[in-house]
Subunit: 339 residues, 2 copies
């Protein structure tokens, strides 16, 4: 592998100048800079990450903590993080936080403490108090993504507002018998995503002076299968008769659509369905939803940590609020005429 000395020799300067020219830190004459660039390019020189990190204390690497790798949402966010980081020359080290206790200890006590990263982005993770502490002790910026976190700086995803907007859409169509598919408090993690979405749902109803009907609430686990089963239970219940359904995730909404089809309930003629997320399958099922632009969330997260790492070079302070958007497709419509 070609080292900095060879570049220095070829360019006729010292290694210090090579370092300065290539990194952009410190001043170098335009002439030297160009000669160094040419020399480096012709030799295919790229500075060794470990040598550079050891000397500078900066790794140009960000750690990303992910609870699941095979769920669409996290993949999408991760893609955004990766794109934004690469644009700025940063690598990303992936840490999969499995539920296994021993592996988690390893992760927080060893892997993360190797000084391999300049910052950590934690995706919608359920962190124990001790784990939160470990993260803070790392001495690098930590950012949680997925909603406000009780003890960590977080990217503000407004699940409450999203749920409220979704429910308001149903209400504006004229629905009043609106079912809710989502988790009860027992499912809540640190981010309280399920709870926030449920509160947004209830707030929208309250805003419209529509009472919450307990028989229209069904617990489900945020998967297609969970949504399918919950919707099946709901539709089988004699006292329910919803004309619309708000699912706290697109996957549950899709499960509900499939459940409705199976029971001969037409969507949206007999039942309107709306979800939340912006899941890739939403398009296929023509699902009306609240898109939270997961990829953009990832990019924002990356930009936020970069802003902390390189205050100077950063974009002119992006607005803090993360965008979301009501996407009306074909699964919502006015309620059927009263029989």
């Amino acid at each position: 592998m070609v080292s900095i000395d060879e570049v220095a020799r070829l360019a006729g300067v010292s290694t210090a100048t090579v370092s300065r020219a290539l990194s952009g830190r410190g001043r170098v004459s335009e002439a030297s800079r160009e000669r160094v660039r040419v020399a480096a390019a012709s030799l295919g020189y790229v500075a060794s990450a470990s040598a550079s990190s050891l000397a500078s204390g900066r790794t140009r690497n960000v750690g990303v903590l992910v609870p699941f790798l095979d769920r669409w949402y996290f993949g999408a966010v991760l893609g955004g993080v990766s794109a934004a980081l690469m644009r700025r020359g940063y690598d990303i080290t992936l840490y999969a936080a499995t539920p296994d206790a021993a592996e988690r200890r390893d992760l927080f006590d060893t892997f993360l403490r190797r000084r391999r990263v300049d910052a950590v982005i934690a995706l919608a993770l359920e962190l124990g108090p001790d784990e939160t502490g470990r993260l803070s002790e790392l001495g690098v910026p930590v950012l949680a993504v997925g909603g406000p976190h009780p003890r960590l700086p977080a990217l503000p995803v407004d699940h409450f507002a999203m749920a409220r907007t979704a429910t308001a859409h149903l209400l504006s169509l004229g629905h009043t018998r609106i079912a809710y598919l989502g988790a009860g408090p027992e499912f809540d993690l640190d981010f309280h995503v399920p709870e926030q979405r449920r509160r947004g749902f209830e707030q929208a109803l309250a805003d419209a002076a529509v009472p919450v009907a307990p028989e229209l609430l069904e617990a489900a686990d945020f998967t297609i299968d969970g949504g399918f089963r919950a919707a099946t239970r709901l539709l089988a219940r004699a006292d329910a008769h919803p004309t619309a359904l708000f699912a706290a995730s697109d996957e549950m909404a899709i499960g509900a659509i499939l459940a409705a089809r199976e029971r001969g309930v037409r969507v949206p003629e007999d039942l309107s369905v709306i979800g939340v997320d912006g899941h890739e399958l939403g398009e296929f099922f023509q699902l009306t939803t609240i898109d939270q632009f997961p990829r953009r969330q990832g990019e924002r997260a990356a930009e936020a940590v970069l802003a902390r790492l390189e205050p100077a070079a950063s974009a002119p302070s992006v607005s803090r609020e993360l965008p979301f958007e009501l996407v009306v497709r074909a699964t919502t419509a006015p309620p059927p005429a009263r029989p």
Copy 2:
């Protein structure tokens, strides 16, 4: 951050002994080893990755090249890679290989050349010849996952055998009008996955002396939507009349099931459907499929590179062949009785 000197002082030994005791390389008396361990633990010492890498030339880090982060299959494989690597104390650096030409150049010319990784695992990636070259020049083991690769050592995934097995299952049920959903040669990447699956399909037919009917072949792009559209075309065609359908991916198979339902074609009574992959949604749709255990593929890939990096510590040479399995669920059955 606590350094090796503090540990050495606390344990009453030299830094060299600390290094030896903690890394397991070189001999250390059991007594010293224990004192070092205690000292390190009490101080919360973890060796700096960059210092260690610079001095030893080993990074304990593997790069993983991924084409898409938001597709289930890659997430699943990545999860397996990550789990196996973490078990052995390795970190993973994620490289997202986007289609963007400039970003790809950056990736291969800069990011990968920082000597940050001891090995590279490339997941079912379409690599240009120059990119393959760049990878080889890295001077570290490179492993391709996703089928035989023309110019890189690869984990052998036998798509041909999988497709053949799937088709044979349909044949054994008594089907002879078997449709095929998949890509034509024009979709082939380096791994030729689509082509291999098509050839496996044709081979199975040949084995059973069933002629290939061109009107039963439909091109699709391996997504649910693509499968849906292709199946819709197929079912609308007057001359087709398939009693069974082999989709070269589970996602297409699911699309086909949905298309059949929509047209009132019952699965499996009127049409049997089988896929390939072992996709998470297969369970929900009760899809009969060939499971290729993507997560296990990832683990195998990780084990394979680890075996090259640490020949000694490795498992007793796992068998090379990757497993796959016919999973019979509820979308396949004998063909309907002849009218």
